[in-house]
Amino acid sequence: MDSGQLKHIVEAALLAYGQPLSVDQLREMFEEYERPDAADMRRALAELARECEGRPVELVEVASGWRLQVRSAFAARLSRLWQERPSRYSRALLETLALIAYRQPITRGEIEDVRGVTVNPNIVRTLTERGWIRVVGHREVPGHPELLGTTREFLDYFGLRSLDELPSLAALKDMDDVGIQLEFTGAPTVQAAAAGLPAANDADAAI
């Protein structure tokens, strides 16, 4: 077997196996009479490594053997192949966010008082990770509960320059009137809005 052939077999094996292969594992592919010795195998690996220059994969040696891996320069773009479809936020999350926005600074306990259910810690975490809320202080009561407030990113996301620009509660009165009227017209645009109301008692299980 010439070295070109051996190099091809090694490449085929590494790509088919998809995991690191040791020199001995690679040698096991051959019957004893034709088995390349370790030095031959290392030479083939070295040749393959050279051949990979300028290609999107590289040959690296890791603890358990040799591996063909995609160069890290591609990682950012390729990561998009696995991107998750967005899931929608739950009503519980939106209500929590709304209460924090309109009633800040507010403690979890106060949110719970208004909503009537415990605040799922995942909701607070999700909102914090999204950069929309943060701890702005602690209430001076026993337990020193965290006071939550919205961030600048929150304002940016909703295109507001300041909290003053949040639609006032007066809008809610109008919305309420309009909302009730709309419910009876059955226009498709409001079906979703109307459908939201009965779901008010949903648990905080979903985020």
Binding site: A12, L14, L15, A16, G18, V57, L68, Q69, V70, S72, F74, A75, A76, S79, R80, W82, Q83, E84, P86, R88, Y89, R91, L94, E95, L97, A98, L99, A101, Y102, V114, R115, G116, F158, G159, L160, R161, D164, E165, L166, P167, S168, L169, A170, A171, L172, D174, M175, D176, V178, T185, A187, P188, T189, V190, Q191, A192, A193, G196, L197, A200
Partner: protein, 296 residues
């Protein structure tokens, strides 16, 4: 194969000895290292060996096809008496050995017997009508089965993953998790707030007052903007520089316009930006199907 020669085989349907196995026939069992290609007639057959025979057949049609092919006969012209006799010999052997015999084998035996008896009836030439060959149904089934037997072999020969081909795979280290975050419209949050406030029966305690800007005036302004621009992203309808009051009024105006069917709010899919546009003038014009304001 020559049809005349085939049809002649009917004449010696009672020939006691079937032709010897065809050259190149695959043994379907190895007993004590000896390939077995045919059920030995007068010898003791170890039950395991017969079991192997049986397992080699996928059912009565397969067994029949084997008997026919072994003699290089044409499926279209089966010497029914001969084949029936051979088939019965197998069945009998299986029964003698108390091997579990699928009911389908007995059904086929009955079918063969029936065909054979119908073949015995003289054909009435005077009637002038063409009688169907009693074997027609069997021939159709045998052919149909053989097609798929062949197709199964063809599929098995296709180069397939894991056996002939391997998916090439290389590790991607430093993979990042890319998550697309859900979109939230300001309005969704407002609606959520309204709901939660309503539920908490706090509405009465909230200070509600009429706004000074005219909602009607703003409705006209919005319609004018939509007339000029066609499709406008929802958030662009708001002018933050007008302050809280202005945003509120715009919001109320939009809702009123919606209610009166003067505008449509559309969203290509959930979490995409909302767009507003003038409603189609023709009341029969198709509405945007996926119009939906998500609130939760």
């Amino acid at each position: 194969m020559n049809d005349i020669a085939d049809s002649a085989t009917i004449t010696d349907a009672d020939a006691p000895i079937p032709p010897p196995p065809q050259q190149g026939e695959m043994p379907f069992a190895i007993v004590d290292g000896e390939p077995v290609t045919e059920v030995p007639r007068d010898l003791y057959i170890p039950p395991q060996a017969l079991e192997v025979f049986l397992e080699a057949f996928e059912g009565p049609l397969d067994l029949l096809l084997y008997l026919i092919r072994r003699q290089n006969l044409d499926v279209l012209d089966i010497p029914i008496a001969d084949i029936t006799r051979q088939y019965m010999e197998y069945i009998q052997l299986m029964q003698e050995l108390d091997l579990e015999l699928a009911g389908e084998y007995l059904l086929m035996a009955a079918m063969l017997a029936e065909i054979k008896s119908r073949m015995l009836l003289p054909r009435s030439g005077e009637a002038g009508q063409e009688e169907e060959d009693p074997r027609a149904e069997l021939v159709r089934r045998l052919q149909e089965y053989e097609r798929f037997k062949q197709a199964a072999e063809d599929i098995d020969r296709l180069a397939r993953l894991d056996r002939d081909l391997h998916q090439a795979h290389a590790e991607l280290t430093h993979r990042q998790v890319v998550r697309i975050l859900p979109e939230v419209a300001l309005q969704e949050m407002l609606v959520a707030f309204k709901d939660v406030v309503q539920r908490a029966s706090m509405f009465a305690r909230l200070h509600v007052r009429r706004e000074t800007l005219s909602v009607r005036q703003r409705m006209s302004d919005v319609l004018a903007q939509l007339e000029g621009e066609g499709l406008v992203e929802f958030v662009r309808l708001f002018r933050p520089e007008e302050g809280r009051m202005g945003v509120t009024v715009t919001f109320a105006a939009l809702l009123e316009l919606l209610r009166e069917g003067l505008i449509d709010i559309a969203q290509a899919e959930p979490y995409q930006p909302l767009y507003a546009r003038r409603a189609a003038r023709d009341p029969d014009a198709p509405q945007i199907e996926d119009v939906e304001i998500t609130t939760a």
